[in-house]
Symmetry: C2
Subunit: 146 residues, 2 copies
DNA sequence: TTTAATTCGGATAAAATTGTCCTATTTAAT
DNA sequence: ATTAAATAGGACAATTTTATCCGAATTAAA
């Protein structure tokens, strides 16, 4: 629903790393997967993708781990993570999965759905990583339940 | 994205069958999959699901096929088809895939997303099968592209 | 009654997604 | 130098989703 499992983990991991990075702390995959309740090895793979996409940074070796630059903390938005992991959103397939649909050749739900699609994209573009992490830090939201 | 492939085919097939049912025509799986551009055997499986869910009706044997009752033509909405095929929407997993999240224990995007989620659900509840089929019949929308 | 046109449903296959395991490599501390 | 703690990345396994195939059952028409 909306995102793949990989993307869900990726977003949650990013928010956790961001939270730590605000106070200049680095975190390792073991902590991350524990704190966001996700499979460790699979999450590690996803983090690699995010490193390649230059959304997060990794430091190898002892006392290494993952971190997010102060610049990215402000720059990265939800949509950047989603695109890095799930690929281009909506371009390939939309609600009814029509190939090459358009305003001229729409599916029967296009007019109802286009607003929602716009809102969703807009929301992803306006949801900043830092905002998500401060919300968690303030105890207003969480990255796992129990 | 939003729906599974199975659900996409299921919705498109339902709209096509509805379109035919308006003029009391019955259609078979060969026609359906040709007209909505979907894999025949897979679509047949999905239609079986919709028959079991009593959304469409099937008539076996020669000159048989699928049809939708006049009553269902008016009663069925997009959400009914989606639930029949993809199961309960959003209940299991939402944007960030948190288990047992709630207004009290929300993920960091809950406040931004809840409106979109409501709009989406609302749209599905208000999109009638008959409306979709008349839109296609009128040439205002289509179920396949080329 | 035979035949042809259908859906039904079980078995299976292919592909994509999700997940695990293990070794190599890197790096800081001792 | 050695060691311990990390990420990197390839190979593989499990699961889910998507898709195909085929024989059985049904039904109307010839
Ligand atoms: S809603 Fe619009 S963009 Fe999405 S599948 Fe339908 S026609 Fe295409
Ligand atoms: S948006 Fe709300 S309902 Fe959806 S996963 Fe987040 S907390 Fe749960």
């Amino acid at each position: 629903m909306i995102f793949s499992k990989a993307c869900e983990y990726g977003i949650r991991a990013s928010v956790y790393i961001a939270q730590k990075s605000v106070s200049k702390e680095r975190c390792n995959i073991k902590d991350i997967s524990k704190e966001i309740d996700s499979p460790e090895a699979f999450t590690a793979k996803i983090l690699q993708t995010l490193v390649h996409a230059q959304i997060i940074q990794s430091v190898k070796g002892a006392f290494g781990g993952f971190e997010i630059t102060q610049k990215n903390l402000r720059k990265i938005k939800l949509i950047d993570i989603a695109i890095a992991i799930d690929g281009t959103l909506y371009d390939k397939t939309c609600v009814l999965g029509l190939k090459h649909c358009s305003e001229n050749q729409p599916c029967p739900v296009h007019n109802q759905f286009k607003h929602i699609k716009k809102d969703l994209l807009c929301m992803m573009q306006n949801t900043h990583l830092l905002a998500m992490s401060t919300s968690v830090e303030a105890g207003l939201s969480c990255l796992k339940i129990a």
